[in-house]
């Protein structure tokens, strides 16, 4: 009964307000361009094709994981178990390959299946049991990492040479995993924007109760979102492992935070229903990669990167709060 005045037509907004909105909407791209230019001008190697390709190569796995995370975030939930899902799936995969000598393609399929299953496990806890998604995936995050160590026995595993070669496979100058990541992100974007499933997802992000009343299959859609997130997390884990040529126990450590950060920096609101995977996830991932790579090239203290990362997340967060007008008094 109180909000009868909100939602003025856009024409009423003054020009300065529109300017402000436009700045908030697109300002981040401008900042990214400036940062890129800065690194390009202050180092010799940064703006070369080789380096850009190297950057895309490095960011490909986390971009895939972030795309899965974005699906869950768009529905207004969180999945912070992605790093552990990646670890456990890959632990299973490398066990299959090295101990049981399962052919690599079959093992890869098993990795993805494992990711999907673990995603379904999250979904059962969140959707089936009605537990807050942060809490649920926090607990699976801890449990699955432990399980991963159990499977791997705490050992690192080096892949067979033929498998290792896959990680650096190129078509022309471009790494295959860049193309794979691009394809995945585009596909997920298409699913979000153009399919009924994606629209349901967005509707749930607008308000789960509203979506239920409209008659959308809320539980099924939420369930699948976790399965997608789990599958993409395991794919990301697979891509990382192939890049480094083996399985390590550090796989996926901190990936959940990086993925959330990418999603937030990419303009996808944690409140759900707002934002787009393309260009959001690509811009977000690229931002962090540019910072890391650029600082590296400048031979800055390698530890400075983390500091800068945090500041970027903060700025993006602040912009998000300005956009959604959450700074108004006690909207909670």
């Amino acid at each position: 009964m109180t909000d009868t005045t909100s939602g003025l037509p856009p024409a009423i907004l003054s020009r300065s307000k529109r300017l402000r909105a436009a700045t908030l909407e697109h300002g981040f791209v401008g900042v990214l361009v400036l940062i890129f230019l800065f690194f390009a001008l202050s180092t010799n190697h940064f703006a070369t094709i080789d380096n850009v390709i190297a950057m895309l190569h490095t960011m490909a796995p986390i971009m895939v994981i972030a795309a899965g995370m974005a699906v869950v975030v768009l529905s207004g939930k969180l999945d912070i178990s992605v790093g552990s899902v990646a670890l456990l799936s890959m632990a299973v995969g490398s066990f299959l390959m090295n101990a049981l000598h399962v052919p690599a393609p079959l093992a890869f399929v098993a990795v993805l299946l494992c990711g999907a299953l673990l995603g379904a496990l999250n979904a059962i806890i969140v959707v089936g049991m009605g537990i807050n998604s942060l809490i649920a995936t926090l607990s699976t995050m801890i449990a699955l990492r432990g399980l991963g160590f159990l499977v791997s026995g705490g050992n690192s595993v080096e892949f067979a040479p033929a498998v290792r070669a896959l990680g650096n496979l190129t078509i022309g100058p471009v790494f295959v995993d860049i193309l794979l990541a691009a394809a995945v992100v585009l596909l997920v974007h298409l699913v979000h924007v153009r399919t009924p499933y994606g629209r349901y997802l967005n509707a749930i992000g607008n308000g789960e109760e509203v979506a239920t009343r409209i008659g959308l299959p809320v539980r099924l859609v939420s369930f699948l979102s976790f399965v997608i997130s789990g599958t993409l997390a395991s794919l990301g884990g697979l891509m990382t492992s192939l890049q480094v040529g083996g399985f390590t126990n550090f796989l996926g450590t901190g990936a959940e935070f990086t993925a959330v950060a990418i999603v937030v920096v990419g303009g996808i609101s944690l409140f759900g229903g707002i934002g787009a995977i393309v260009p959001g996830v690509i811009l977000g991932a690229f931002t962090f990669e540019v910072m890391e790579n650029g600082l590296n090239q400048m031979s800055a203290n390698p530890f400075a990167y983390r500091l800068v990362t945090g500041i970027i997340i903060f700025v993006a967060m602040y912009v998000d709060s300005l956009k959604s007008g959450r700074a108004e008094p006690d909207t909670a």
């Binding site: 005045t5 009605g130 809490i135 967005n202 789960e208 409209i214 998000d320 909670a332």
Partner: protein, 827 residues
């Protein structure tokens, strides 16, 4: 009244809040087991080993305490370990360079508190998500730590510092003593300080906390500052134990262990917090019952004279032809529907028959059960008993989807819209046209355009919904219904946000639906709409159907009588008086959007003024903007202070006001908390003793006093207020303000949902308050209630005060004035 009952777990006279104790216990236990197992062997149970385990756990315990504060408020702080490490590094570096530990230790705590405060600022005052804010802080702070130290540890601390922490007075190491002291202090803080009580209230229900004058944002801010402070304490302890500080000590893993430690017990708080942000899971039935009382709110009794005549004319010429047809083969038949909400009977064998090709009005007064009945039909609420027949065939409606599948469309009263999506998507979301696997957007927009034209909307289907006005959003909701050619359509007060042109358009649509053979149920408060549009009527009262028939069989007075039952005009509790003295409150030119427009009025001490208006007239908004619960756009509020009228801010006025909200359960009370805490919540400041701690005896005697003064029926003071009856709950709300002896009461629907005797008691209490000198402004949608106590009436319509009547005004005067047709006999 037996009030000696004490909460379980009391050990030394303090009530230990479970939110704090459990995480610590669990943490210590699990750490003991873990550390113990890794040392497993003959040494496990040896004294020294236990002590070592305790020492190792102690900084974690302090940590968990800090995290608990944040989690009780409904938040999370991921940055604590990083904060701890960073602060320790700064402190250690200072001490290493020859600084005095007596300065170094405060540095660690100060730095950590500053970082925590920063989180608090962003979260409490900028409304950012705790998860991401503290994630960002964690990254920044840990980045700074590794950068500063190059990932090396800072060692070589002064011996005086490390030695102190090795000291074991009476065989107990200092860290363990510190943990004990801090745990006790935290428990006292939670149970016996204004902050602790406020924090708990905020965690349970931030809205209600705000109404109870708790500075919600400040409390949330403080909880993060505290978590920073405790991170600092843990840093001091850990640095001393290790003799060094390093960036990697507080790695990311620890925080999650801590959170999970807290979560084992505290996750309800987190859920609550999420819910308050509008995203939690809700129990549909219960919630629906509380959040949408509007349909059952009140009937607009436009008085019969003119309307009556028009209805006769209409009736003879038009839709009345359908009236009175045989209904035995009704298309929709709700049979003996019964529903209880937590034991309270909301529907008692309700019957409803609706034919195809008829518009069926569903009428009923406050709490009659109309909305519950419609929610059963819409699949939103599950019935306990009864049967739903459509076309003679029984159907089970287990959710909105079943309902839709059976051809039922429901235009809910509240705005059920997806604001970040386009108009076309909003209309077609449940029926997206596809081409292959993709949504066919062109087709969708084309069809949406046609539907929008039908409802008379002039905006493009590609418009983002959130940018539309409320009325336009309402049109989108109506267009959504037209997508499927539903056989049964429920309109729940569809016209309240429409202009008269849009309303006429809606009536045309409804008539077209009727012509197409739909069975239409129409809930409204407006009698004229009903006579203009509807063919048959069903009237509900107290969850039962009390009358049904053709529109032509009833006159307005008949319907009023049916809706209200044989409610006699309750006896006046107090004869109206005229007050002429100086006002206590003077309001001039108050505005808030379109809801409150240029409102002027005065209130005198001892005077009870009724603010009479229809639902949506702006009465609630006026009350809320007076005390700053909604921000006013402009206007001046003055209050009598020592003979002169001084201007005050809404927040200042709030501090001298007893505010009773219309949403007792959602905003009035903190339901899970005991009666005692609810009663004393607003007056804790007066109960402080030594060290600014709440004196349990003073609190108890205040609560006892209020319980007996208001004759609140409770078994014991520690009983959760949730378990009380509605009337007793409302007394608790009053009691809370009574204890603060405010000079002003703003009462929004104080008697809503109460039985007759409870109503009378509350009204008597209101009169009592005025006799004691308070000014009272009371809103009620039940005119009869107002007419039992008021000295004067202000009539509000469309946000403006349109008339003022003395206390002896007649019912007709007031009804006419409120319906926007000022009577010529107005005083």
């Amino acid at each position: 009244m037996t009030t000696t009952d004490t909460a379980p777990g009391i050990t030394w006279g303090l009530r230990l809040p479970p939110g704090l104790i459990y995480p610590i216990v669990i943490l210590i236990l699990s750490a003991t087991i873990l550390v113990g197992m890794s040392h497993f062997g003959s040494t496990f149970l040896r004294y020294n080993n236990l002590i070592n385990i305790l020492i190792q756990t102690s900084s974690l315990g302090v940590f968990a305490i800090g995290m608990s504060f944040v989690m009780i408020s409904g938040g999370i702080d991921l940055s604590m370990p990083a904060t701890k490490a960073f602060a320790s590094i700064l402190g250690a570096a200072y001490m290493k360079s020859g600084g005095d530990p007596a300065v170094g230790l405060p540095i660690i705590m100060l730095v950590a508190t500053i970082i925590g405060s920063f989180n608090g600022l962003a979260i409490a005052f900028r409304g950012m998500t705790p998860f991401v804010v503290t994630l960002a802080t964690m990254t920044v702070v840990s980045g700074a730590s590794v950068w500063l130290t190059n990932s090396q540890s800072v060692s070589g601390l002064p011996d005086a510092y490390t030695d102190f922490f090795l000291w074991r007075p009476a065989g107990i190491p200092i860290p363990v003593i510190m943990l004990g002291v801090i745990a006790i202090a935290a428990a006292i803080l939670m149970s016996s300080t204004v902050f602790g009580r406020s924090l708990r209230a905020v965690g349970y229900n931030p809205k209600a906390a705000r109404v109870a004058r708790i500075p919600v944002r400040r409390v949330i801010f403080q909880s993060y500052a505290l978590s920073g402070f405790f991170a600092g304490c843990a840093g001091v302890m850990l640095t001393a134990r290790l003799g060094s500080a390093s960036a990697n000590v507080g790695n990311d893993g620890v925080v999650l262990d801590i959170v999970s430690g807290c979560v084992v017990r505290g996750h309800q708080h987190l859920r609550r917090g999420r819910r308050s942000a509008g995203r939690g899971r809700r129990r549909p039935g219960h919630h629906a019952d509380q959040q949408q009382p509007e349909p059952a709110r009140r009937v607009l009794l436009r008085q019969p004279r003119r309307e009556g005549r028009r209805h006769h004319r209409l009736h003879q010429s038009g839709p009345g032809r359908h009236a009175g047809e045989v209904v035995s083969g009704a298309y929709l038949h709700l049979k003996g529907i019964t529903k209880r909400f937590s034991g309270v009977l909301a529907l008692d064998g309700a019957e409803l028959r609706v034919n195809r090709g008829e518009v069926h009005a569903l009428l009923g007064a406050n709490g009659a059960g109309k909305s519950t009945l419609m929610n059963v039909l819409g699949g939103v609420v599950m019935k306990d008993a009864g049967e739903i027949l459509i076309d003679g065939r029984p159907v089970e409606l287990k959710g909105p989807r079943d309902s839709i599948a059976n051809g039922i469309a429901f235009v809910h009263q509240e705005l059920n819209v997806l604001s970040s999506m386009t108009v076309a998507e909003n209309i077609f979301i449940a029926d997206l046209p596809t081409r292959g696997p993709l949504v066919d957007r062109d087709l969708m927009e084309e069809r949406a355009r046609a539907l929008l034209e039908r409802v008379g909307a002039r905006f493009s289907p590609a418009t983002r919904l959130g940018s539309l006005s409320t009325g336009d959003q309402q049109l989108v909701k109506i267009a959504r219904v037209l997508v499927r050619n539903p056989a049964i359509v429920i309109f729940d007060e569809p016209t309240s946000s429409l202009t008269s042109r849009e309303r006429e358009r809606l009536f045309d649509i409804i008539r077209a639906l009727r012509k197409g053979g739909a069975a239409i149920i129409y809930i409204t408060h407006f009698m004229d709409e009903m006579f203009q549009l509807c063919d048959r009527i069903t009237v509900m009262r107290n969850g039962e159907v009390v009358g049904t028939g053709a529109v032509g069989d009833y006159t307005s007075p008949d319907l009023v009588w049916l809706m209200l039952g044989d409610v006699e005009q309750g006896e006046r509790i107090k004869a109206p008086a005229r007050f002429t003295g100086e006002p206590f409150l003077r309001v001039r030119g108050l505005n808030r959007g379109a809801a409150v427009r240029n409102v002027d009025f005065d209130l005198r001490p001892g005077e009870i003024v009724g603010l009479w208006g229809l639902l949506g007239s702006g009465r609630t908004e006026l009350l809320r903007s007076l005390v700053g619960l909604d921000a006013k756009d402009s206007g001046e509020i003055r209050v009598a202070v020592g003979g002169t009228l001084e201007p005050v801010t809404p927040a200042q006025l709030h501090r001298m006001t007893g505010f009773v909200t219309e949403d007792r359960r959602g905003e009035g009370l903190i339901l899970p908390l005991p009666v005692e805490s609810n009663l004393t919540l607003a007056s804790l400041g007066r109960l402080l003793g030594r060290l600014r701690l709440i004196r349990p005896s003073a609190e108890r005697s205040l609560a006892d006093d209020l319980v007996s003064r208001l004759r609140i029926k409770v078994a014991r003071l520690s009983q959760p207020v949730r378990t009380l009856s509605g009337g007793n709950q409302q007394k608790v709300v009053f009691g809370r303000w009574l204890a603060t002896t405010p000079p002003l009461f703003l009462l929004d629907e104080p008697t809503r949902g109460l039985d007759v005797s409870a109503k009378t008691e509350i009204l008597k209490l209101t009169v009592q308050l005025a006799r004691e000198g308070a000014s009272v402004l009371v809103v009620s949608s039940e005119l009869e209630e107002l007419m039992r106590v008021c000295d004067r009436y202000l009539v509000i319509s469309r946000g403006a005060i349109v008339a003022e009547y003395p206390g002896d005004a007649t019912r007709d005067d007031l009804l006419d004035a409120a319906s926007g047709t000022p009577s010529t006999v107005a005083a």
